[in-house]
């Protein structure tokens, strides 16, 4: 702790904190134009200069840590004059197009110009002709750009794309794509979010609305399990129509991130069909007669609870393999870890100084996890060791070691990792014996992970004191998931490494905790599909379903995120039709509104008995997540250490495909949005093409859990190895099985 004073107030700084950070923590205002909390300081605007007694000249507060006893002044006539001068410079030749600029009304340049009263310009610089760049979903106008560098910092330090940079040229400086003529990135759009002026804008939103006309609806992103906070900006469609439309999505960019699917994939809302009453009645009947309901995890806790209550009432089965496997996984994890759920959140992951990733293509499975790993790597110097059969090119600039294991051998690989992490730890005898008796020679041979790779992992993590292991969905859906989960539990409990299990979908955790799920292995008639396949389909995703229910952004309710938080989401757009709750009412569960079920969740372990309307939904001034509440995790459960021997690792010979989605695609919601690229092709390396006897452009039949689909095949020069990548986002059913498939790829005539 360093004690010093700011404007006469005694303050204390933690190690590594800057003067600006301390000031903000104490609520003392220092103006900035280029500062964004989640990156290292850009230090370009110079507005945050302060005076320190005894030090000549101004001191920059954003990148200077305090020394004991200094007396800082944040405002004086001298400082004010210089800040005014800086604003004068910022305003020199800035195009006077506020009338049409997207940013007008929420523009930092406008705000600071007003704040410092710059109402005249008494000098100028030579004008220069500059052209707007069109970078796909993003437009860049260099003449509006104030070169604060926020976009560049965020892209590199938090997202990890490192796709833009400054072209240095003094007055001619500009933002350019890095190592490319046009912008080649994952289009997260964080650059738009952090841009304080109208230089970087969404090409779709551009010139469609003034900021102040938009109504802001705080909500949760539907596309993966990260539970990212976002804000739907809503306004009427046109002067003729008072029907609302989502114009854009914004996020709390100061502290949090949003990927491109969340930002640009917002138009997945749906309209009820004309004969909605008829559909409704059919749906009621279908449910009454249902033998089972099969549903996806992209629903709210309240919907899940309604389905559970209906199950209790009508005795049908509830199918959701994703949540059921996840629940089992947690149970097995709990049996060795003593914790009902893993207890790491993304904030903690981003502060790790060592990361192990296994069983996922994390950059596309869960971009928020990727951003946390990027932050850890770039800002904390975390060493990242990544185990997977398919190398993830997007992660190269953060990954220190990539180890390729044989498809199917995750259980063995994890045992090797566990054995290494538990070296020199006090272990109960049964664990010691377990590891002593494992045939590591066999495991190494079958998994192709040699002792040298494990030793190398240890070398990388040698100096790490705060390591997180990120476990992906390949593990949860694995045949050996039971033992895998137990090994993860052992790692979590007995090593210094904390485990983060990445849930598959928006509300996988919530559903797994709320519903009593049945194994989906019988061929039943009268299955009602709820956002999934069935004989009668109720869906918010399919226009041609038997009954349409509102999409996630047309509903209010809660979900449980990867951070194990119960988060509220709100209605961005009205839905003039029936909901699941309406059906439930008809079937005798009497709640007028879906959100009346929020309080009922309290009867389920981990949830609280609180009204929906009392849940907060915002971030604090310093980035504290004040949304919803923490899901309560049991951390002192009984432990039993009966792990399975590892002696039959599966072999995947021949042609193998991996079900994984491309950047920006996740599910049928993202598949139907206007802005996101949605070509669903099977991709493979040259080597894969040879092994599968395919040529670039061939159309093949692919078997996905018994369903045959057609896919165009493309050779992807970025891929290596003999595993092809098959997307599933466009399929009209959920794929919850182990993501690697041995398959025959039959060529079909086009």
């Amino acid at each position: 702790m360093i004690e010093f004073s700011i404007d006469g107030i005694t303050v204390k700084a933690q190690k590594g904190e800057t003067i600006l950070e301390v000031a903000r923590r104490y609520g003392i205002y220092i103006p900035t134009m280029c500062y964004v909390s989640k990156t290292t300081p850009c230090a370009s605007c110079r507005l945050c200069s302060v005076e320190v007694e005894g030090a000549d000249g101004f001191v920059l507060s954003c990148n200077t840590p305090p020394t004991p006893g200094i007396k800082v002044t944040t405002n004086s006539q001298k400082l004010h004059n210089e800040r005014v001068n800086i604003m004068k410079l910022y305003d020199v030749n800035h195009p006077l197009e506020c009338g049409v600029c997207d940013k007008s009304g929420e523009c930092d340049l406008q705000n600071k110009t007003l704040e410092f009263g710059v109402d005249t310009q008494n000098f100028s610089a030579k004008e220069q002709k500059r052209y707007v760049k069109h970078w796909n979903l993003i437009d860049y106008d260099p003449s509006l750009c104030i070169l604060c560098e926020k976009c560049v910092h965020v892209c590199n330090e938090v997202i990890g794309d490192d796709a833009i940079e400054i072209y240095f040229g003094g007055y001619n400086s500009t933002i350019i794509p890095k190592n490319s003529d046009t912008l080649d990135c994952t289009f997260c759009g964080e650059c738009i979010a952090v841009c304080p002026v109208g230089a970087l804008v969404s090409s779709d939103f551009k010139y469609t609305s003034n900021a102040w006309e938009l109504r802001r609806v705080p909500a949760i992103c539907a596309h993966c399990s990260a539970g990212c906070s976002l804000e739907y900006d809503v306004k009427h469609t046109s002067l003729e129509s008072n029907e609302d439309k989502i114009y854009r999505v914004k996020n709390n960019y100061e502290y949090k991130n949003l990927c491109g699917a969340g930002r640009f994939g917002f138009d997945f809302y749906i309209k009820p069909r004309k004969n909605k009453d008829e559909d409704f009645n059919k749906a009621v009947d279908a449910l009454k007669n249902a033998k089972a309901v099969r549903f996806s995890s992209i629903i709210t806790n309240e919907e899940a609870l309604i389905l559970q209550k209906l199950k209790e009432k009508f005795g049908f089965k509830l199918f959701n393999e994703d949540a059921r496997l996840t629940k089992e996984f947690y149970n097995n994890f709990a049996s060795t870890s003593g914790k009902s759920l893993d207890s790491v959140n993304l904030e903690e992951l981003s502060c790790s100084d060592g990361v192990i990733v296994i069983g996922t293509q994390i950059a596309t499975d869960n971009p928020a996890v990727r951003y946390a790993i990027t932050t850890a790597s770039k800002q904390k110097g975390a060493k990242v060791v990544y185990f997977h059969p398919v190398e993830d090119k997007l992660m190269q600039n953060v990954v220190n070691q990539f180890s390729k294991y044989e498809v199917g051998t995750e259980e063995g690989v994890l045992a090797l990792i566990a054995n290494e992490l538990l070296k020199n730890k006090e272990l109960p005898n049964e664990l010691k014996n377990y590891f002593d008796n494992l045939d590591f020679g066999y495991i190494e041979a079958e998994s192709s992970i040699g002792a040298d790779e494990i030793a190398s992992m240890s070398l990388w993590l040698k100096r790490s004191k705060n390591i997180t292991l990120v476990a992906g969905n390949d593990l949860v859906s694995h045949d050996k998931a039971k033992n895998i989960a137990k090994i993860l539990g052992v790692i979590d409990r007995y090593s210094d490494v904390n485990v983060l299990i990445v849930p598959k979908d928006m509300n996988t955790i919530g559903v797994s905790q709320i519903c009593e799920l049945d194994k989906d292995d019988e061929n039943l008639d009268n299955v009602v599909g709820y956002n999934d396949k069935g004989d009668f389909i109720i869906s918010s995703m399919e226009e041609n379903a038997d009954m349409i229910v509102p999409a996630i952004n047309q509903q209010e309710g809660t979900v449980v995120s990867i951070d194990k938080k119960v988060l509220p989401t709100n209605v961005a757009l009205r839905f003039d039709g029936y909901t699941l709750n309406d059906i439930a009412n008809e079937l005798g569960l009497n709640k007028e509104l879906t959100i009346e079920w929020t309080k009922e969740l309290g009867s389920i372990k981990g949830f609280k008995e609180v009204d929906f309307d009392s849940l907060e939904n915002f971030y604090g001034r310093l980035g504290e997540d004040i949304r919803g509440y923490e899901f309560d995790i049991d951390t002192d459960l009984d432990v039993s250490l009966n792990l399975d021997d590892i002696d039959d690792l599966p072999e995947y010979n021949g042609v193998v495909i991996y079900n994984a989605n491309p950047v920006l695609q996740f599910n049928r919601y993202t598949a139907k949005t206007k802005q996101l690229p949605k070509e669903a092709v099977l991709r493979g390396s040259k080597q894969f093409a040879i092994a599968a006897k395919l040529n670039d452009g061939d159309v093949v039949k692919v078997d996905i859990d018994g369903v045959e689909i057609k896919r165009k095949f493309e050779i992807d020069p970025d891929l290596k190895g003999v595993v092809g990548i098959n997307p599933t986002f466009d399929l009209d059913f959920e794929v919850n099985s182990y993501r690697f498939k041995k398959t025959k790829l039959e060529r079909v005539e086009q």
Binding site: A43, S49, F58, N85, F402
Partner: protein, 679 residues
């Protein structure tokens, strides 16, 4: 001393206006009054003032051009609001006045903007560009007002025939023998753009891993931050970029794209730091380079001299691979002969000699003979250790025999080793001896602790002491005593005292009579200095030598007395640092790349300016630094614990953690300056 018409350089006001030339008062600084041999300077303008050598110089135009150079050169900056826009406005308004269209208010606005830039700019370039401009506006106010009031162009505005040559520098860059763009690579660390950081380093220094670990960092003695608190840990921040490239398995981030072959060939003799560097930059220019190396391994003294625990070979190999990646051809195990050199002269368009200094000098004592068993030259001693430790190459039988080794590697278990030295090589000898299991390791040095630290580094000395090396200061071996089999038995050591020089020079050593004593030991390793071996040079070339028996060049273009034959590194300078060898070889490569095309020996303006600034000295240790909070301590990286490290070759310096590195980089004040000469 320089003859000036007018000067405000470094606060010294010399004003000879109105005086006849022979009465001009001189400036005490080494200003670049003569740009080149046949080209005089008219004016010099920079961060610390302006000097005018010719009374006909148009000062308004001079100020305008300086502001213009800030625009052109602001690739190095242009990163902050005051600098980016302020610099442009400064230029626009100065030019307006120079055109004859200026208003009085412009004159005032320039002052206002200049003040803001001085106070709030991000780096020194923005803070200092206004300095000489304001000097000119102050001392030549009448000239400015004349243009403004009479609406007329400045005196040579339309027929300006002067050349303006500008260069970016910084105190650290100037002091670095390789002139590495240090603020740029530190900025790369601060911005977490490690690829940019590495490319900034590699513009003038291909051995980023190496000089991020074992450079004696003269730059840190010229770090302006020392004027405020402590110098930046410049050297260690260099390795972050290199480690980033290696640790993530990227291809090599070259600072330039290799040019297509220009059909010229150069032979480089020696694959040490100088040879590697010369080869890298020549290959980048499209020259086909063959490097001949006598040893079976590449890398020269850094490979066979510098021990593994200071410079892990897998990291150095990355530097070497980077050179290979530029398309350099290496021929190892090839000791070049005089006949070959004659042939090379015909086959190649130029030759760069970079053979270093690989002969250990004697300690100069009684009975000192090469054949004594246990007398072991430092170079050979370190060759034996490093070739075995890094490549598994065993000690040759004849050396095993001579040095009484019972294993095929250097095992000193139970032995007492005495090293005579005081420089880096001797430190390597004693610390390697500790790791080879020696019972006792003693360093004999004629002077004191302070001097040994100055000759090496504080860390190096401190770590050796920690590892148990005994230092005998003010001592020298006066006699070697051997037994009947000519095996080293003991040494007679004399003691000295330092007699201070009343004129403030280096203190004199005076032997203390009767203080001699005996010191029993198994090995005496002379590591006092090295000399070059030139037995491969054709006698008839009769290359001119320095008094130190190294190849003579003019120290600017690195050509020897024979046309087309160049020399760089220790064989030119004498045993010196890696960074010195790199700097020389980089310059030589530049000169050669023009020589092979034109047959002329030339320097670029950049290089001429570099030499001028070096003479002038950019760093001013008395300057008062403003605009920064003093008292922020220098980051110190974690070292491997002495008990863990002294029995093995693990890298001792673990390097900065990311947070330490960022914090340290944030201390850098980006002391870029622009200097400009008008000729």
């Amino acid at each position: 001393m320089s003859k000036v018409y007018f000067s405000t350089w470094r606060g010294e006001l010399v004003d000879n206006r109105g005086l006849p030339k022979d009465e001009w008062k001189e400036s005490e600084y080494n200003l670049p009054e003569q740009y080149e041999e046949h080209r005089a300077s008219r004016a010099f303008i920079g961060w610390d003032g302006v000097s005018i050598f010719d009374d006909d110089v148009d000062v308004i135009k001079l100020a305008t051009e300086y502001a213009a150079q800030y625009q052109i050169y602001s690739e190095a900056c242009g990163r902050c609001a005051p600098g980016r826009w302020g610099g442009r406005i400064l230029y626009d308004m100065l030019d307006k006045i120079a055109r004859g269209e200026g208003e009085l208010s412009d004159f005032e606005h320039i002052k206002e903007i200049a003040k803001s830039m001085q106070l709030t700019s991000k780096c020194e370039i923005g803070k200092t560009v206004p300095n000489p401009i304001l000097d000119l506006m102050t001392y030549f106010e009448d000239d400015f007002l004349d243009c403004i009031n009479n609406k007329k162009p400045s005196k040579h505005y339309t027929q300006d025939e002067l050349d303006y040559i500008a260069k970016i520098t910084a105190p650290c860059m100037d002091e670095c023998p390789s002139h590495v763009d240090i603020p740029a690579y530190i900025e790369g660390v601060r911005d977490l753009r490690f690829d940019d950081s590495l490319m900034a380093t590699r513009q003038t220094m291909p051995l980023a891993h190496t000089c991020g670990r074992v450079c004696p960092h003269p730059c840190e003695d010229a770090c302006r931050r020392a004027n405020l608190d402590e110098p930046i840990s410049i050297m260690e921040l260099k390795r972050l970029g290199a480690d980033y490239e290696t640790d993530h398995g990227f291809g090599f981030f070259h600072p330039v794209e290799k040019k297509p072959s220009i059909g010229k060939k150069v032979a480089v003799i020696g694959a040490g730091p100088a040879g590697l560097t010369g080869a890298y930059y020549m290959a980048a220019e499209g020259i086909d380079v063959d490097v001949y190396e006598e040893l079976p391994v590449l890398g020269g003294e850094v490979t066979v001299g510098v021990p593994e625990y200071r410079m892990p070979i897998d990291r150095y190999n990355k530097d070497i691979e980077c050179v290979k990646d530029m398309g350099v051809n290496f021929i190892t195990n090839h000791k070049v002969t005089a006949d070959e050199m004659r042939q090379f002269e015909k086959d190649y368009d130029a030759i760069l000699i970079a053979t270093g200094t690989r002969l250990s000098k004697k300690v100069r004592c009684e009975n000192e003979r090469e054949e004594i068993k246990g007398y072991w030259g430092a170079i050979n001693f370190l060759d034996c250790i490093n070739l075995y430790e890094k490549f598994g190459i065993k000690v040759p039988k004849e050396i095993q025999q001579k040095q009484m080794l019972d294993k095929d590697y250097v095992d000193l278990t139970g032995k007492t080793v005495v090293c005579v030295g005081g420089g880096f090589t001797s430190m390597d000898v004693v610390r390697c001896s500790v790791r080879a299991g020696a019972k006792k390791v003693i360093m004999i040095y004629r002077r004191d602790e302070k001097t040994i630290i100055r000759n090496t580094t504080y860390e190096e000395y401190h770590e050796a002491v920690e590892e148990g090396v005994e230092f005998l200061f003010h001592s020298a071996v006066s006699k070697i005593v051997t037994d009947e089999n000519d095996v080293l038995q003991k040494l007679i050591v004399s003691k000295f005292e330092l007699i201070p020089d009343p004129d403030g020079g280096r203190p004199q050593l005076k032997k203390i009579e009767g203080a001699d004593y005996e010191l029993e030991c198994d090995y005496l390793i002379p590591a006092v200095s090295q000399s070059a071996n030139f037995d491969f040079l054709p006698e008839e070339w009769d290359l001119e030598m320095t008094s130190w028996a190294t190849l003579k060049t003019n120290g600017r273009d690195y050509m020897t007395s024979r046309k087309g034959v160049f020399a760089a590194g220790d064989c030119e300078y004498g045993p010196m640092t890696i960074v010195n060898a790199v700097g020389q070889a980089k310059r030589a490569a530049s000169v050669i790349s023009r020589y092979v095309q034109t047959g002329e020996i030339t320097l670029t303006d950049e290089e001429i300016m570099e030499d001028h600034l070096r003479k002038l000295k950019v760093y001013d240790k008395n300057e008062k630094v403003t605009g920064w909070l003093p008292g922020l301590p220098r980051a110190v990286s974690e070292k491997l614990d002495v008990e863990i490290r002294k029995t093995n070759n693990r890298e001792v310096n673990l390097g900065f953690t990311q947070e330490e590195a960022i914090a340290e980089a944030e201390r850098c004040m980006r002391c870029y300056y622009i200097a400009m000469v008008a000729t």
